[in-house]
């Protein structure tokens, strides 16, 4: 048995400790927003937060996140500035890679007190979007940072 904390809930699962965090999230916890894109950490579609930091679930086992807090796209509040900005700027096309992108941007924004959108954009070369929504992602990042700054700390 393995214990996990996912989206604020404690769950106990009958899976081996070397089971892939990605497939456990998707197939056992039925949280399908975290996507399989490449399985080798190249594309970012499976990005989740582990203790608040963007992490690629495909490269993690359930043992790796023992005692840590995992948050998936479903656990990021609908009111989160990145989700709001992504709707406002109509960023997604097919949308398959975007939950991972949103989780990465949310993590980068939370890292500093005064996030700089251009610095965040400079850290987005490690995700792949086949639809070519890059310009919309840039817009989304700038809008999300503006929305974050407008909120009380």
């Amino acid at each position: 048995m393995v214990s996990l904390s996912v989206n604020g809930k404690k769950v106990r699962l009958d899976v081996p400790s070397d089971a892939s965090l990605l497939w456990v999230i998707r197939d056992h916890l039925k949280l399908k927003g975290t996507k399989y894109g490449c399985g080798i950490g190249e594309c970012g579609a499976c990005t989740v937060h582990v203790n608040g930091k963007a992490t690629r679930a495909c490269g993690m086992t359930v043992a790796d996140v023992k005692g840590k807090k995992v948050v998936t796209i479903e656990g990021l509040p609908a009111t989160h500035p990145v989700k709001q900005a992504w709707i406002k700027e109509q960023v997604v096309q097919c949308g398959y890679c975007q939950p991972g992108v949103i989780m990465q941007v949310a993590s980068l924004i939370s890292e500093t007190r005064k996030p700089d959108p251009e610095q965040i954009i400079a850290q987005m070369d490690n995700v792949i979007c086949r639809c070519g929504t890059h310009l919309r992602m840039k817009k989304g990042i700038r809008t999300a940072v503006r929305m974050t700054q407008r909120r009380p700390a």
Binding site: A19, S20, W23, R26, D27, K30, L31, K32, G33, T34, K35, Y36, G37, C38, G39, I40, E42, C43, A45, T72, I73, E74, A78, K83, W86, I87, Q90, V91, V92, Q93, C94, G95, Y96, C97, Q98, P99, I102, I121, A122, M124, D125, N126, V127, I128, C129, R130, C131, G132, T133, H134, L135, R136, M137, K138
Partner: protein
């Protein structure tokens, strides 16, 4: 089951008014669903269903892959229906004959055909429904129809200040005959068409709740993967079935014509089972095939006899008579679709019925193949289309559906069949490579007078519609250069006015499967044509824009996009220091586009940096302006990826590329600023999903020439290739 998309027919006749379009490849009829007879080829394709609770449900048969088809098609119906957008609910329909495209003949989301094919029928469906509601109200009030007006989901009689909502009228209206030629709105009356509308698929995608094929979940669902041959034509010599079936969780090993399937209770167990199979494979049919072999063979094809495609005037004589002639050879390599969601399909085959949940672009083909394999008649087979994690044409080929149905049938369980990323790239049906040799003649006035073009490609039609190959000519391979007369795509051919034009085609004999890849071979043909036009302009001492325009005298739509892009990009003013600027135009799927690319080159590394792309498009009337520029941007980014870095690697008779580490795709810092200008046009509506791809690669190559004086006739323009060309210059 988590899939929320509705069973198509179940609720469609449950009271209220349902209006449908019944389409054939030759036209369509608007029918009242209540009166619909289940005759073959006469099924409805679009349903407007109004229920007494004032809900309006629109069911869409095309696949949503981010291009915004659910929103745009619904906007067209809602506008003519004069519905309140807030009361609209949009659903994805199943596979039905009636969803077949009036221009493409099948229920298929390809050929940039979803709006240009359905614009008129959807408008009429909405307008006919509105007319029926108005008549129902007029009858109820016993007043002339002319005194009644439909406004935002209600019919109003202003004189007596009375109002019925559509919901109140639905049951009565359902009993009325359907007008076949309802009065359509004037453009000035449009409420939604042409106005920006947020896409309805966006919020659920952002929430992580959109259901793609890979997200389908069924009770007792099993998982399967296939062990596939490492080389084309290789057969399994031996494999350890017992070892695989001993792996915990593995249920069954199923040998299939295309490989050996392992079915298990979890995806990971299926992968471990596949590993345990330890297959040894025979050699492939072309065991020494690699990239050098392919390029050599396809260039040699240009010297082998081909099929005559077009012979207008006398190109040979005109070339001999020309003031001077130019010849050049081009090569475009194989590229992969590499959609972010790998191929997958979930199938549940029982003795009674077959259900398929999958991200497919072709419901008609999927239905046919699932019916054939399951042995069940089409009415016992359901294709449930999920969201598509990108399509690019790959999902028009339902090979992954066939595999899933075979495996589910063999194990008697619902099976989710998954291609890993490695399989998705290695076993893709690629965009075919192409080689081209072109000769052109220019007269003393610098006018293009003759064009002789030989092109070679692996056949696309061979794999999808072999009966459509005529005398060795594969039209799909020639799109952008030539197309059949009466083609539904009607402008997929060279746009220039050339009095003496000869085109020849050689089908390359290579073993890899190929398929349409966003714009099909328009992109490969445009690379050759538009690079060559640039070479001719320089040879004739003319400006590349001016040289193009002088062979487009009667082609107003091509002229207009070129003139627009020139104005918006500042063509004619010298580019910034160290930068180069290139232009290209192309027409396909009923629309026209021109692009200008600005770039600089690092002479030490050979690395190209594209700074800005300006695009002008004429696609006729615009339904939803947001997705119009999204589609053009998207196509430009993808095409830039192929222009700068993408090429499938082959080795030992098979595919060597396997994942994103050895199949690079463009990243954020390499994406330029893009400006998209839509020319105001009231001409026939054209498609927009693919047109952005073809002009981009030649515009980059032309800009590279402008920046460096070096002509590279082969993509991708990798730093290494550019550096070699610079050194040779």
């Amino acid at each position: 089951m988590k899939v929320t998309r509705r069973e198509f027919l179940k609720s469609s006749v449950a009271g209220g008014l349902s209006v449908a379009i019944s389409a054939t490849p030759f036209g369509y009829t608007i029918v009242n669903a209540a009166e619909k007879k289940p005759a073959a080829g006469f099924d409805p394709n679009v349903w407007v269903r109004i229920t007494p609770d004032d809900r309006i449900t629109i069911t869409i048969g095309n696949s949503e892959m981010g291009q915004g088809v659910l929103t745009a098609q619904s906007m067209i119906i809602a506008d003519e229906l004069e519905a309140d957008w807030k009361q609209i609910r949009i659903e994805q329909g199943e596979a039905r004959d009636g969803f077949k495209s009036p221009i493409l003949g099948g229920q298929i989301t390809v050929g940039s055909g979803s709006l240009r094919g359905f614009y008129e029928p959807l408008r009429k469906a909405g307008a006919a429904t509105r007319a029926m509601l108005v008549k129902a109200a007029a009858d109820a009030w016993n007043v002339p129809e002319a005194e009644c007006r439909a406004v935002l989901g209600s019919v109003i009689h202003a004189k007596s200040r009375r109002r019925f909502t559509y919901g109140q009228l639905a049951t009565k209206a359902a009993k009325l005959p359907v007008p076949q030629n309802p009065v359509l709105k004037q453009e000035s009356e449009f409420r939604y068409i042409g106005k920006p509308m947020p896409r309805v698929d966006v919020p659920q995608k952002v929430a992580g709740k959109a259901v793609y094929g890979l997200d389908v979940d069924l009770e007792d669902m099993h998982y399967s993967v296939l062990a596939r041959p490492p080389a084309y034509g290789a057969k399994p010599a031996s494999f350890d079935r017992a070892a695989a079936e001993q792996v915990a969780g593995v249920v069954k090993v199923v040998p299939l014509p295309m490989g050996i399937a392992v079915c298990a209770r979890s995806f990971e167990a299926a992968l471990k089972g596949r590993e345990a199979l330890n297959v040894s494979w025979s050699k492939g049919v072309v065991p020494d095939m690699d990239n050098a072999y392919i390029e050599r063979e396809m260039l040699a094809d240009l010297d082998r006899p081909g099929a005559r495609v077009q012979d207008t005037g006398d190109a040979r004589k005109a070339l001999a008579d020309a003031s001077f002639s130019v010849e050049a050879t081009y090569f475009v390599p194989f590229v992969a679709h590499a959609t972010m969601e790998p191929m997958n399909c979930t199938a549940r085959v029982t003795a009674e019925r077959c259900d398929v949940w999958a991200p497919v672009q072709s419901q008609t083909a999927s239905l046919g193949i699932a019916s054939k394999i399951s042995g069940l008649p089409a009415d016992k087979v359901a294709i449930h289309t999920t969201f598509l994690g990108c399509g690019l044409g790959r999902r028009g080929k339902p090979d992954f559906v066939a595999e899933a149905v075979m495996i589910s049938k063999a194990v008697g369980k619902p099976v989710k069949h998954v291609w890993t990323r490695e399989e998705d790239i290695k076993y893709d049906s690629f965009r075919s490579a192409m080689s081209h040799r072109i000769q052109a003649g220019i007269d003393a006035g610098g006018q293009l007078t003759a064009w002789s073009h030989k092109a070679a490609s692996v056949s696309i039609l061979k794999g999808v519609r072999p009966e459509a190959i005529k005398n060795g000519v594969d039209a799909y391979c020639l799109w952008g250069l030539w197309d059949e007369p009466n083609s539904p795509h009607w402008n997929n051919r060279i746009q220039y006015e050339i009095p003496n034009l000869y085109i020849e085609f050689k089908m390359s004999d290579l073993p890899m499967p190929v398929a349409p890849w966003r714009s099909v071979q328009n992109a490969c043909n445009a690379f050759a044509i538009e690079s060559f036009m640039d070479e001719l302009a320089h040879a004739a001492g003319k400006d590349p824009l001016e040289f193009r325009l002088q062979s487009l005298k009667n082609n107003l739509r091509a002229r207009r996009v070129l003139e627009t892009v020139a104005e918006k990009s500042g063509w004619g003013k010298p580019p910034a220091r160290g930068e180069g600027r290139g232009i290209a135009q192309h027409a396909c799927f009923g629309s026209w586009m021109a692009q200008v690319v600005e770039l600089s080159v690092d002479r030490a590394s050979g690395k190209i940096k594209v700074h800005r792309v300006v695009a002008a498009v004429d696609c006729g009337p615009v339904v939803n302006p947001g997705p119009l520029s999204e589609q053009v941007e998207s196509a430009i980014v993808e095409a830039l990826s192929t222009a700068l870095m993408e090429e499938v690697r082959f080795a030992n008779g098979g595919v060597a590329s396997a994942n994103f580490r050895d199949y690079p795709i463009i990243r954020m810092s390499e994406v330029p600023e893009i400006e998209v200008y839509a020319v105001k046009s009231t001409e026939r509506m054209g498609g927009i999903g693919e047109l952005g791809v073809p002009p981009l690669a030649p515009a980059v190559a032309n800009a590279l020439f402008n920046a460096t004086g070096v002509r590279v006739r082969r993509i991708p323009l990798t730093p290494q290739r550019v550096l070699e060309a610079l050194k040779k210059a």
